[in-house]
């Protein structure tokens, strides 16, 4: 390939990488954690003071009692076939939510059960919004803005990310064979970082291509649809085109009886063997028809939702009405579109793919981190004649920013996760409080990095990350040793996994921090990673 083209793309790669790298770091680190959003939500949900769910045959009387006591639930309730700590009852409901794109979903959530005497028991659930915050950080590349403001910025970052992928491959092509299977450790640090950056980038390229394309769509789909309505279809045709998407509910008499949950299960297994119903959503359409949305899993197929597929059925007869998102029953168009969602969310192949995506996400975060390190190493000034070189100011700034933003987001996320078990006792377990906790830790880390310089902050903030992450299993350990205290454990394997994973990660952070400490002492002094280079912060500086 012509060297001028490679040189040009190298410039392009450097610029898009530097501008988007830190935002992408946060998006990928938080995104890796969202692979276990369900588990985190369960870990963080306080135990509800409610009797165990009744047997399936008693659910009908439970529903009847709920409707009698709360008439507003007649056309707005859910049946949960798999109660879990975040939804600990078989019958639940939420007040209808206005169609808005608020950052955090409605907190009001009610659960009903029957006590030992068969009397109705209703509790308000305090669902933790911590996992949602991590999802928001992921979607908005860590920006604390309204959805409408953050999404175009995220989209621009995603476009730069796509350009970085293409340009990165173009740069690598001429030396691909020579460079691919080698990691040159040694005096030349830049060489080592470059080898690591290249090998990660090339081997996770398919994952990154998927993420870039889906992220651009998630950011701009409103704008693209609006433009297509105007210039492709013509606005007058649009309602008719989408009407194909409305569920054709047959008209029933007002007093027609809806199927009971066990009848629904029976009808579903007739029509869709292999599909396991998990949640039944009984509602009413805008046209006034009674509707029933069944969410569930079929492990043989990919699904549209983060966890489940779904199907609209006739609540009276149980006939499947709209199978666009029903696993294995979609047309080719939906199947194709759903595969993009599944590839982004890692909702195929069960837990092993979730873990693979978790590590691919962390590897992605490291890819962007190493990109910044390369920029820094390329601009390093070497010492001459025993005189220590002072590194350029922009290099020192980017070094501090890279350390502060990356480690700040890691520490902030860990602290806000641990806080999920402590905030309810203070009555502060809301999304905005979790957000405030995150940003307080994050901004403090960034400030610290600028105050101390990249080298010292790199070591110190790594210890902060370790401590912050250690708070997660520590909190659960407190609950174990102090059962009457304010924090809790659910005692399920999946919530225990949250603690074990956090413990392992904290130990990794300690190892990295020790290595960083060693580098400060033993590494070359003509580097921003040497403490000697950091000018002591004095008022004059």
């Amino acid at each position: 390939m012509r060297t001028d083209i490679v040189k040009m793309y190298k410039d392009v790669h450097t610029w898009v990488g530097i501008i988007s790298g830190l935002a992408l770091f946060i998006a990928f680190y938080a995104g890796a954690i969202t692979m276990f959003e369900t588990q985190l939500e369960r870990w963080a949900s306080p135990p509800a003071d409610i009797s165990a769910p009744p047997a399936l045959e008693d659910v009908d009387s439970l529903i009847a009692k709920v409707h009698e006591a709360y008439p507003e639930t007649r056309d707005n309730f859910q049946v949960q076939f798999y109660p879990a700590p975040d939804r600990p009852a078989m019958v639940t409901w939420q007040p209808p939510r206005p169609r808005s794109r608020e950052m955090f979903s409605n907190t009001d959530f009610y659960a009903a059960s029957l006590d030992a005497n068969g009397e109705l028991e209703v509790v308000t659930l305090e669902r933790s919004q911590m996992a949602q915050l991590i999802d928001v950080l992921h979607q908005q590349v860590g920006l604390p803005f309204e959805h409408e403001v953050a999404m175009p910025i995220m989209g621009t970052i995603a476009l730069m990310y796509a350009v970085a992928l293409v340009s990165g491959v173009i740069i690598l092509v001429p030396s691909l064979i020579k460079d691919l299977f080698i990691l040159r450790r040694g005096k030349n640090l830049k060489r080592m970082w470059l080898d690591a950056h290249n090998v990660l980038g090339i081997f996770s390229l398919p994952f990154h291509i998927i993420m870039a394309i889906t992220a651009v769509i998630f950011a701009f789909h409103d704008q693209i649809y609006d433009t297509q309505y105007e210039v492709v279809y013509g606005p007058e045709r649009v309602p008719e085109l989408w009407e194909v998407g409305e569920v054709p509910y047959p008209k029933h008499a007002d007093d027609a009886q809806r199927l009971t949950p066990s009848e629904v299960v029976a009808r579903m297994s007739e029509q869709a063997p292999g599909f396991t119903p998990m949640v039944l959503n009984y509602r009413k359409s805008r046209a006034g028809d009674k509707t029933l949305l069944v969410e569930g899993m079929d492990t043989r197929y990919i699904v549209r939702g983060p966890v489940t597929g779904m199907v609209y059925i006739d609540p009276v007869t149980g006939d499947l009405l709209r199978t666009d998102y029903m696993p294995g029953m979609q047309d080719g168009w939906h199947q194709t579109v759903i595969s993009f969602f599944a590839l982004h969310f890692g909702t195929y192949g069960g837990m092993s793919v979730r873990w693979a995506y978790f590590f691919l996400g962390l590897a992605g975060a490291f890819l962007f981190y190493s990109g910044n390190l390369l920029w820094i190493e390329s601009r390093r000034k070497k010492s001459r004649r025993g005189k220590d070189a002072v590194q350029r100011k922009d290099v020192r700034i980017l070094g501090a920013l890279t350390v502060g933003v990356s480690l700040g987001s890691i520490a902030g996320i860990s602290v806000t996760i641990a806080a999920a078990k402590w905030l309810p006792v203070m009555g502060l377990a809301t999304g905005p409080v979790h957000m405030a906790v995150y940003y307080a830790v994050f901004l403090a880390c960034v400030a610290w990095a600028f105050l101390r310089g990249a080298a010292l902050a790199g070591k110190e903030l790594m210890y902060v990350c370790a401590l912050a992450t250690f708070l997660i299993p520590f909190t659960s350990a407190v609950a174990l040793l102090w059962p009457t205290g304010p924090v809790w454990n659910h005692g399920s394997l999946e919530t225990l996994m949250v603690d074990l994973t956090a413990l392992l990660v904290a130990l990794c952070f300690i190892t990295i921090a020790r290595r960083a400490a060693k580098r400060i002492e033993a590494g070359p002094t003509d580097s921003i990673w040497s403490a000697g280079d950091v000018p002591t912060p004095t008022p004059a500086e």
Binding site: D11, V12, V231, V232
Partner: protein, 99 residues
């Protein structure tokens, strides 16, 4: 061989602007051709409506990543502009003849 002008990143602004703006236009126009002339035309239902939206992203990304291969910003605008005119003319024809 005649003397070649070298590629450079110095004139990135004109090229990038062409890639972002005309790349989006091209993506919309080509997705429109897919909507009208692709399999099942406008009868593909909501699934095709969604896929037609999705295919704009890879097209747009491809144009933005390759627009640097034009020698100058002016050339990028000229070539991508011409591609837009042809694609939109095709879309207009498809809409008037089939719509």
């Amino acid at each position: 061989m005649s003397k070649q002008t070298l590629y450079t990143s110095k004139n990135w602004l004109g090229k990038t602007a062409a890639g972002v703006i005309l790349g989006f236009g091209l993506a919309i126009a080509l997705s429109g051709l897919f909507a009208w002339l692709g399999p099942m035309g406008l009868e593909g239902g909501s699934g095709k409506l969604q896929l037609t939206m999705w295919i704009t992203a890879p097209i747009w990304i491809t144009v933005i990543s390759t627009c640097f291969l034009f020698k100058t910003g002016l050339r990028a605008w000229a070539w991508l502009g011409a591609a837009n005119i042809i694609a939109f003319a095709g879309l207009y024809l498809a809409r008037t003849m089939l719509g």
